[in-house]
């Protein structure tokens, strides 16, 4: 009984996963070289080639194919660099530390803002490789007929606040260690969030590199390795039991969420056709219920919504929910027969 | 309960007749028709005719039928062109009709099926006070302060009246109270259809000035009472019959 939207989403997610993780090899094989010039670290400063964990050092030629930062990207530490350079949080951190003049970032900022504006958090729901892995975990749970855990709205709000609590210090610390006086601390604090981000463990792993998994060369790196395992454990548990509850915490998702409301990609509802059955709320992997709750609101792009469109699939009323891009309707809810 | 006939000749009512229906609407209809024709100085001939009211189903003799709501609207619009609302206080039931600009029915509401708030209610009360219908009106005119009669159900109101008499409330006040209670019912119906600027008040009940007075105070505005208000519905039917 798979709904068309679900099928489309799974295909896109799997394709995107493959491209983001392995696409780097292919494109570079074709073009021979990175397409956009990257912003490179001042020589000798800690670049992402030389993290505190020496094991994460890049082999030469590990540069990504497209040297920029889309709203949904594989991790920087992919072997072969993946298709794109890194996530937006990585970009902010490393360039704050390097104190790169803003002008050198303008192109990357432009591309990010453009893509985030066009598709909002659909990047989280359809592209993000972590989300894809998480949805696979959820699928496993469904196969086992285990019910998902339900998290209260208050808890979700708390997670959102926490994600600010991750993003802000990450940027602050990165800026701090960029000041000449504090450069020595770079060896401990460079790319603070990356140290514990589950993507730093998972994406390289799928790229065939295990070296990022553990590093006990010194106390700091050992501590960070263990910390990252703990976070990874939380990540797996969250996705297995709590559907996409993790995405309320993710700082990348937070940055994307600023573009969700106001994006031309809109989730719309025709109030008169709603029968309040709340099937949409039951189906929402982010645990949101605004689709049934919001009365007399046409556009339902909440910051938390990853536009996975499960609600549109779940809605049994014809043309009650619909998705439009700049006013043009892409899909709409309709009753689907299971028999016949 | 009465059967009325209006005979229309180039837009003017040339013959009117009112016959008590009794138990045989067919006979009453035929009788009233011949009376009206006689008054108009015509012979029984094939006039286009329309039958309306509750009798329309049994006593139409193959003639076209319309409901009394439409007939009342047509008739009222003819006799009181300025009215955009019609209040029909008949024997069987009470209607409030909201008229469109061209005299069509925009909305209407009728009392629910029991006799509450209808002419029948008044007739029953008359017997309770031992006066005739006009006498009831005269009494009400002399009322100092109308008694309050809460129940609109004919049966309960009857006992209520009796108890008022027992409490030696002046009959005039009771009479006025009865009119007031019906008027308030009608006013409630009027608000249900959204109210109107100016009402035409028709039907047998409209003949009583006391009823008109009570209704005007309940609605808070003047109402137009045409001459022979009880014939307006029949007139409306005749007007419809005149149209091919």
């Amino acid at each position: 009984m798979m709904r068309p939207t679900a099928v489309a989403r799974w295909s896109v997610q799997i394709a995107a996963f493959g491209l983001l993780i392995y696409g780097g090899f292919l494109v570079k094989a074709a073009l021979g070289r990175s397409v956009l010039p990257g912003v490179s670290a001042p020589a000798g400063a800690y670049s992402s080639n030389t993290l505190p964990q020496q094991s994460i050092a890049w082999a030469p030629g590990d540069e990504p194919a497209f040297n920029f930062y889309p709203p949904g990207a594989a991790c920087r530490f992919n072997p072969g660099g993946g298709l794109f350079k890194a996530c937006i949080v990585h970009m902010f951190s490393e360039n704050l530390t390097w104190r790169t003049p803003l002008k050198y970032l303008s192109l990357y900022l432009f591309l990010f803002v453009l893509l985030a504006f066009l598709f909002g958090r659909a990047w989280c729901g359809w592209i993000c490789p972590l989300g894809t892995l998480g949805d696979a975990l959820t699928g496993l749970r469904r196969l086992l007929h285990i019910d998902h855990a339900d998290f209260s709205g208050g808890f979700r709000k708390a997670l959102r606040i926490c994600s600010y609590g991750i993003l802000a210090p990450t940027l602050a610390v990165s800026a701090f260690i960029g000041m000449p006086a504090f450069t020595p601390y770079q060896c401990y604090l460079f790319l603070p969030y990356c140290q514990v981000c589950p993507a730093r463990l998972l994406c390289p792993l799928f790229g065939g590199r295990t070296s990022t998994l553990a590093d006990f060369t010194n106390g700091i790196s050992s501590f960070l390795s263990i910390a990252s395992w703990v976070v990874l454990g939380l990540f797996v548990a969250a996705f297995f039991l709590g559907r996409r509850i993790w995405c309320h915490l993710c700082p990348i998702g937070l940055v994307n969420s600023w573009f969700n409301r106001g994006s031309p990609l809109e989730l719309r509802k025709d109030q008169v056709r709603c029968n309040r059955c709340a099937a949409c709320a039951d189906a929402c992997p982010m645990g949101l219920d605004h689709v049934v709750r919001k009365k007399g609101k046409a556009v339902l792009n909440e910051p938390g919504c990853v536009l996975c469109l499960r609600c549109v699939d779940a809605c049994p009323r014809d043309s009650c929910l619909s998705v439009t891009f700049w006013g043009k309707q892409l899909i709409q809810s309709k009753y689907r027969e299971t028999h016949s | 309960m009465a059967t009325k006939v209006v005979v229309l000749s180039d837009g003017k009512a040339v013959g009117k007749a009112l016959v008590n229906t009794g138990t045989d609407p067919r006979a009453a209809g035929a009788e009233a028709l011949s009376q009206a024709l006689g008054q108009a100085g015509l012979q029984e001939c094939e006039l286009p005719r329309i039958v309306t009211g509750y009798g329309r189903v049994v006593a139409n003799n193959g003639a076209r039928t319309i409901t009394e709501i439409l007939a009342a609207a047509r008739g009222a619009h003819c006799v009181a062109p300025l009215a955009d609302g019609v209040i029909d206080l008949g024997g069987q039931d009470t209607k409030v009709i909201k008229l469109g600009p061209d005299g069509t029915v925009a909305d209407f509401i009728m009392n629910d099926k029991c006799a509450a708030g209808t002419g029948r209610f008044l007739e029953l009360m008359v017997s309770a006070l031992g006066v005739d219908f006009d006498g009831l009106g005269d009494l009400a005119a002399a009322a100092a302060k109308p008694a309050r009669i809460n129940s609109t159900c004919a049966v309960f109101a009857g006992s209520e009246v009796v108890s008022l008499i027992a409490r030696s409330v002046p009959e005039s006040d009771i009479a006025a109270g009865l009119f007031a209670s019906i008027a308030s019912r009608i006013a409630a119906l009027a608000t249900h259809v959204g109210g109107a600027g100016r009402y035409a008040f028709i039907g047998g009940g409209a003949k009583s000035p006391a009823m008109k007075k009570a209704l005007e105070s309940a609605l808070g505005k003047e109402v137009i009472v045409p001459d022979d208000p009880q014939f307006v519905v029949a007139l409306g039917a005749a007007l419809s019959a005149a149209q091919p």
């Binding site: 469904r142 285990i146 709320a281 039951d282 | 409901t67 209407f108 249900h192």
Partner: protein
């Protein structure tokens, strides 16, 4: 008495069967309302009232749900011997049907009574003298955020009670099977709906009501097949005969029109109107909303059932009835209806007050509205006829632009 009840039903069937050019596929439904579709092999019968009782749970517990809500005046007169006269006619009739052992009511192993309105609450007690009663308590607000946990627990209670009666526990697998089986009904009914939306003039309102009344007491898969057949026949007939010029589609709302008390259908149809859509719990409400399961775990299934049978309900017993008014607007728009008729069953305050509000809301939108106060019996048919015919005249007089 039971014999009289049968006579009454046969008369009603004959009345509506008289209409010529009626789809032949309706025969199955006529047999079904004669309660001939439930065979002894299907399992123990379990009487249910309202659409609040999840048939899937009943089936998963190994029983066959049959809806006992009755509109028979004969049964009503039986009920009056125990119940006070000025109580809900449906409660009286339904109680009478059980007490008098009319038709299926005589064969049920137990009944489930949701406490949707006051009459139902007491009805449960009256019935308990004759047959084992399971009651479902309905929260006053059908906001799933506040009431869902409680309602789910009520369903679990129901499941327990049922398994005590039948000896079968509604497991996850059984529930899933039941949901998929019952889903065939919604699929078929929606198919019929699409056919009718295309050719609204083929099927009379009374015919649709007949289809729904049959669903009260029919084995779901057979009912679904018959409905599919009807849908295809509607399409073929619709191709054959054009829509009449004086076709006046109406939307029917308010209190249920329970078989065989279909006076209102008769009057509306003889006055030239056609009920194309309704919000009645006796017709569309029970059939068109599916159970949308997102998570096929047992808890997930129970949640989905709760949402379908509770949050999606349009019953006026709930505090917030904007869903009902929204539905009326939707139906008027989709079916291009020219008027709305509200059925005020006497003594059903909820429906009556609801329609009083509806009158004002619809008036502001310029949609013609008629509220008909009536009872199960036919004694007031003339009063009803006057109102309905006047309503039809009013609609026909309206300039086409406003229709």
């Amino acid at each position: 008495m039971a014999a009289e009840d049968l006579k009454l039903r046969e008369r009603a069937l004959a009345l509506f069967a008289a209409r010529d050019g009626r789809p032949a596929a309706l025969e199955y439904f006529e047999d079904a309302v004669r309660s001939e579709d439930i065979s002894a092999g299907d399992g123990p019968l379990l009487g249910v009232f309202c659409n609040f009782v999840p048939a899937e749970v009943v089936e998963a517990a190994g029983a066959v749900p049959v809806r006992l809500c009755s509109g028979s005046v004969v049964a009503q007169s039986v009920g009056e011997q125990m119940m006070p006269r000025d109580t809900c006619p449906v409660a009286r009739a339904t109680f009478g049907a059980v007490a008098g052992g009319f038709g299926l009511a005589s064969r049920v192993r137990a009944v489930v009574v949701p406490t949707s309105c006051d009459a139902k609450r007491r009805l449960a007690e009256f019935l308990s003298d004759y047959v084992p009663v399971l009651s479902l308590s309905i929260p006053p607000r059908n906001d799933y955020r506040t009431e869902l946990p409680y309602w789910v627990s009520e369903l679990e209670r129901l499941a327990e009670g049922l398994s005590r009666i039948t000896g079968v526990t509604p497991t996850r697998a059984r529930l899933e099977a039941a949901i998929l089986r019952r889903r065939a009904r919604q699929d078929a009914f929606r198919d019929l709906g699409r056919a009718r939306l295309r050719y609204p003039h083929v099927l009379a309102g009374s015919d649709l009501a007949l289809v729904a009344a049959a669903a009260f007491a029919a084995e779901s898969s057979r009912w679904a097949e018959a409905t599919r057949r009807l849908a295809s026949e509607v399409r073929t007939l619709g191709e054959a005969r054009p829509r009449p010029a004086d076709f006046v589609p109406l939307v029917l709302t308010g209190a249920p029109l329970l078989w065989p008390a279909w006076k209102l259908y008769d009057v509306i149809q003889s006055a030239g109107g056609s009920v194309v859509a309704d919000t009645l719990c006796s017709v569309t409400q029970g059939l068109d909303d599916p159970v949308q399961v997102d998570d096929w775990s047992r808890a997930g299934i129970m949640r989905a059932l709760a949402l379908r049978y509770f949050a999606a309900s349009l019953c006026p017993c709930f505090m917030d009835t904007t869903a009902l008014t929204d539905r009326v607007f939707e139906l008027v728009h989709d079916w291009k209806a020219q008027g709305v008729v509200a059925h005020n069953l006497r003594l059903c305050q909820l429906a009556e007050m609801q329609s009083a509000r509806l009158r004002h809301i619809l008036r502001d939108k310029g949609i013609p509205f008629l509220a008909v106060d009536t009872e199960l019996g036919t004694e007031d048919v003339e009063q009803v006829r006057v109102r309905v015919e006047a309503f039809m005249e009013m609609i026909r007089e309206r300039p086409c632009a406003q229709r």
